[in-house]
């Protein structure tokens, strides 16, 4: 998923999946994140942040 907006105080981010649907995602395990970052998400929690040049190699 791609980070759209960050709520750093609550450890959450609004993220968009490949189809454009938006979800609220826990980001505590991969912080700091910024809009445009790509993250690997399982059950609503980001478990890995992906390097920008490698991010699109992963179907999240």
């Amino acid at each position: 998923m791609t980070v759209v907006r960050v709520d750093a105080d609550r450890g959450l981010a609004l993220c968009a999946d490949e189809e454009g649907s938006r979800h609220t995602i826990e980001t505590a395990l991969v912080e700091p994140v910024s809009p445009g970052d790509r993250i690997l998400v399982h059950a609503g929690t980001a478990i890995a942040a992906l390097a920008p040049d490698e991010s699109e190699t992963v179907a999240s």
Binding site: E26, V30, I47
Partner: protein, 371 residues
Amino acid sequence: MKYVDEYRDADLGQALAGEILSLVEPGRHYKFMEVCGGHTHSIYKYGVDDLLPANVELVHGPGCPVCVIPMGRVDDGIALAHEEGVIFTCFGDMMRVPGSDGSLLEAKAAGADIRMVYSPLDALRIAKQNPDREVVFFAIGFETTAPSTALTLKRARADGVTNFSVMCSHVTIVPPLRALLESPDLRLDGFVGPGHVATVVGARPFEFIPADYGKPIVVAGFEPLDILHAITMILRQLNDGRCEVENQYARVVPYEGNQRALDVMAEVFELRPHFEWRGLGFISHSGLKLSEAYADLDAEKRFSVPGVRVADPKACQCGEVLKGVIKPWECKVFGTACTPERPIGTCMVSSEGACAAYYNYGRFAREREVV
């Protein structure tokens, strides 16, 4: 899409298939287990097995979170869902898993307030929106999903939410792999390791496979070329006489895993002495429960849970499928009495189940010629 297309490139796939053909020893039969159900689906979705020589066999492992939940746990969930004032929440896949007397979906149809959620955070949100109700989350999954439950419990504690609790059925990946390796039923030559579990736990926990059992393991990504590449890496290890953990999925998996995820899991969970796995029976130290510090948010302590052990249906051979002993189409009820619409076994329910992969991608029966 950039990079995704490269990892699905047909010409590169053919090239890797040619490399695999050049690496195999004619006359030798190779049996590799892909541990993760996500790999099983990629293999059949993209026809990876059609690119392999006939003497390279892929068998499917126990890494499907829904598939390994025993019937008794489903019954416990349904009992909780029928408690007065309870809103029971779970992932969509769990809704259709048969218990001994119907599924959660059927319990919902019978009037229980059961809601499908995308994440434990959604369940916590329902709890905040319904302060006069008790909200229970049925937590399942391996180490990929457990950190999400752990973070949600910490959030519930921090936000002072008291009407939220978790029925914890999280499991860990190493004990079932060790049980499989100890099993006399199965002779394996190597493993395609679970990429997303390894994102959390790292590749290091799999070192026991080469060290104690002399088998290679390659942690792999989920695109078709990732899987073909991992198979070439296993074959090279075998040909070189090496036996080690290799990380094909280094673009996502750090060898040491995600320390923050491991720390939050260590804080919130502790190992159960035993946990029952569908088809595999009781495996020591393979399941997680809430730690003493979070015992007040443990649904099994807050409510009375029957905890009765229920034998799997006789017709169902999910156990043998999960152990890689039989292929899904070898099960007596595959595709006839047991279909995704009316599943008997968990492997047909889950999007990660081997039976569902075979059924959805048309592999109703297949005998491969063995060299």
